[in-house]
């Protein structure tokens, strides 16, 4: 079922850093050319009430790459992800006490930033697939209708493009007006991805998108991630180290709210600098 990523160039790419020549099975190498930084997290301290959840995180995330956040439960990786589209704003008592998150140089916690506009640019796919109890069509068009798009032709076009983009079109094209809840778990998650790309964000945040899926559905989502990174910057939180190894370009390892190590995925898995990282990726804890 799993087809290898079809981008032809990467494997022969000699310009890539030497660490990338170590072959992690199935792992994609970085695309040629230097990736530019899209998100810059500096000195970030994050609190849930009095409890500090993130300690002095510094991270630069590349544009049109897949970055994976790994680490044991409660290490702060999901918290950091939810900082990136200000979903944490919805939880009482959360606060960034120090540091900043910049997307294209703009501080997203700045006074003049509207979180609503931010979330249109930074989409999110959740751990538990959450299609709305509406038809597939209405699920996909939800974001656009919210923005006031009424044109039927435009909506139809976006539905097809998004579903094709999420590799779901062939499976559901005959039942667009049936409930999205009638789909299987993996299809539901891809529907959520389609819904997210329908509003054309720049960044897609994925919070353990495959944790409730079986291996076949997982493989399809991972395939999709490969395809999507041509267009989108993807940040994925995952509990599965194999998944991080398979589908990310760079990996950040978190432990107890601190960023322990951040490097190319192959480095993290084959040649980590930090003994804690090595202990985690080799399965000695977590």
């Amino acid at each position: 079922m799993v087809t290898a990523p079809t981008s032809a160039a990467p494997m022969e790419n000699t310009a890539a850093p030497s660490t990338l020549t170590i072959k992690v099975p199935g792992a994609p190498a970085a695309d040629p050319g230097v990736a530019s930084t899209l998100i810059e997290i500096s000195d970030l301290d994050f609190y849930y009430g009095a409890k500090q959840a993130l300690f002095d995180v510094n991270l630069r995330l590349d544009e049109k790459r897949v970055t994976a956040f790994i680490g044991p439960s409660g290490c702060g990786k999901s918290t950091l992800l939810r900082c990136l589209n200000r979903m944490n704003d919805l939880i009482d008592g959360t606060a960034i006490r120090r540091g900043a998150i910049k997307v294209r140089g703009i501080d997203i916690y700045g006074a003049d930033v509207d979180p609503i506009e931010l979330r249109k640019r930074v989409g999110m796919v959740f751990q538990k697939s959450n299609p709305f109890p509406k038809s597939i069509y209405e699920n996909i068009t939800y974001g656009l209708r919210i923005q006031g798009v009424r044109s039927k032709t435009r909506l139809d076009e976006v539905v097809e493009r998004s579903l094709r983009g999420a590799a779901l079109w062939d499976e559901v094209k005959d039942r667009l007006h049936e409930s999205g809840l009638g789909l299987s778990g993996g299809q539901q998650q891809r529907l959520c991805i389609a819904r997210t790309i329908a509003v054309e964000p720049e960044i897609i945040l994925m919070d353990e998108p495959c944790s409730a899926l079986d291996p076949i559905a997982t493989a399809k989502v991972e395939e999709l991630i490969h395809a999507l990174k041509k267009q989108f910057t993807i940040i994925i939180v995952t509990h599965s180290m194999q998944q991080a190894a398979r589908c990310s370009d760079k990996t950040a390892f978190f432990y107890m709210g601190k960023l322990i190590e951040y490097a190319d995925t192959s480095t993290i898995f084959m040649n980590p600098a930090n003994p804690q990282t090595e202990a985690y990726v080799s399965g000695r804890f977590g």
Binding site: P131, P133, Y142, L181, R195, T196
Partner: protein, 381 residues
């Protein structure tokens, strides 16, 4: 010597006996409730059916369902005992007197005994109760759902919100007669009206400088006073239940919507409220039964003992519709069973009214249940 027992053999001891006894007690309690219910409904149904239905075509007592209450006249005329309603009696009497006069006979004597409210029907009461239920539920749902949305979706938990919740709980415990008096004081006597001059003889609160337009002269005993009084009475039920319904909508729907760039209000309107509606309707069904059934809140605020005109008849201006009192089924039952002399003719009105009342509440509740089920089918998760 005891025969050898295997370890799972059934045994008899005290705890088993106690268990049996306890379950029987519980079972009896349930049966007793059931018996009470059957007795109440059966009694009203059997005795009320005699008033509401009849043996000949069209099998339903249309007079009882479509006419206003009248006095019953019972008299013996030329050897036959007759029972006629007010209008029939007058017509009969006039016709007989005219006939006697034409035939040159002496004017006939009737010596009728009259029994108040024992003839005619209860149509104005049905209309009044339906109007009261619909209006007050509309007000209560709008206010209650808004409040529930605020409490559940917007408000941050704090001392003030805890105080609000406590107040709502307390409101739920207030006896209905207190609501009646509250409504009488606030709506009947005090509420502001547009374009009504204050009575110079009485003291009125005046909203200077608007006193030429708005005056606190009260709404009088009227539909609108009854609506607000009843609405306030069911508000706690509606708010609490609506909050529960909103809470039961999974968080994922809210997050998913917000992550697509929807505002909080867009999320609530398009992706929370529709799914909560079935639950809100369930609670409003309970509210309907309560609103329709309470006598105390309307006896000072909306109910008339008798009113021949139907609410839509003889209005000078359409707004007068809201400022008129109505008859209502529960208040009518109260009047015919405690405010007028009891006799063999009042019982049929009492039972008939109670029967129609139960039936009406059942119909309104059934309609809400059907609506809820339809919504549920549409928004399932």
């Amino acid at each position: 010597m005891n025969p050898v027992q295997h370890p799972f053999t059934a045994r008899k001891n005290r705890s088993r006996a106690l268990e049996k006894l306890t379950f029987w007690l519980f079972r009896l309690a349930t049966y007793l409730v059931l018996a009470c219910g059957f007795f109440v409904f059966g009694n009203i149904f059997i005795k009320g059916a005699g008033t509401v239905f009849k043996k000949s075509f069209p099998f339903v007592n249309t007079v009882f369902l479509t006419e206003a209450p009248e006095s019953l006249y019972v008299f013996t005329y030329q050897g036959t005992k007759m029972e006629l309603g007010d209008r029939d009696y007058r017509a009969f009497r006039a016709a007989e007197e005219a006939r006697a006069k034409a035939a040159g006979q002496p004017v006939p004597q009737f010596n009728a005994e009259s029994y108040v409210y024992s003839a005619g029907g209860i149509f104005p009461c049905i209309v009044g109760t339906v109007l009261l239920v619909v209006g007050s539920m509309a007000i209560a749902l709008v206010l209650g759902v808004c409040a529930a949305i605020y409490l559940n979706e917007y408000a941050r938990d704090g001392r003030f919100i805890r105080f609000v919740r406590l107040s709502i709980l307390n409101l739920a415990g207030v006896p209905s007669i207190v609501f009646g008096l509250f409504g009488f004081g606030l709506f009947v006597l005090f509420a502001p009206r547009l374009g009504v001059a204050p009575d110079p003889e009485k003291w009125h609160f005046r909203l200077w400088p608007l006193h030429q337009y708005v005056n606190f002269v009260g709404w009088g005993v009227s539909l609108i006073s009854g609506w607000f009084t009843l609405a306030f009475m069911v508000l706690p039920v509606i708010i609490t239940a609506s909050e529960e319904a909103l809470k039961s909508v999974p968080r994922g729907f809210r997050e998913g919507s917000l992550a697509l760039g929807a505002t909080k209000w867009q999320t609530i309107r398009k992706n929370v409220l529709p799914y909560a509606l079935p639950g809100i309707l369930t609670s409003s069904i309970l509210g309907i039964a309560r609103v329709a059934g309470e006598t105390a809140p309307i006896m000072f605020t909306a109910a008339f003992v008798v009113r021949d005109k139907l609410p839509w008849e003889g209005l000078d201006h359409w707004t007068d519709f809201f400022f008129q009192g109505v008859m209502a089924l529960p208040y009518h039952i109260y009047v015919v069973s405690s405010k007028i002399p009891q006799n063999e003719y009042t019982a049929r009105v009492q039972y008939g009214t109670a029967f129609v009342f139960l039936f009406l509440v059942a119909v309104i509740a059934l309609a809400s249940i059907l609506l809820r089920n339809r919504l549920r089918k549409r928004y399932q998760w």
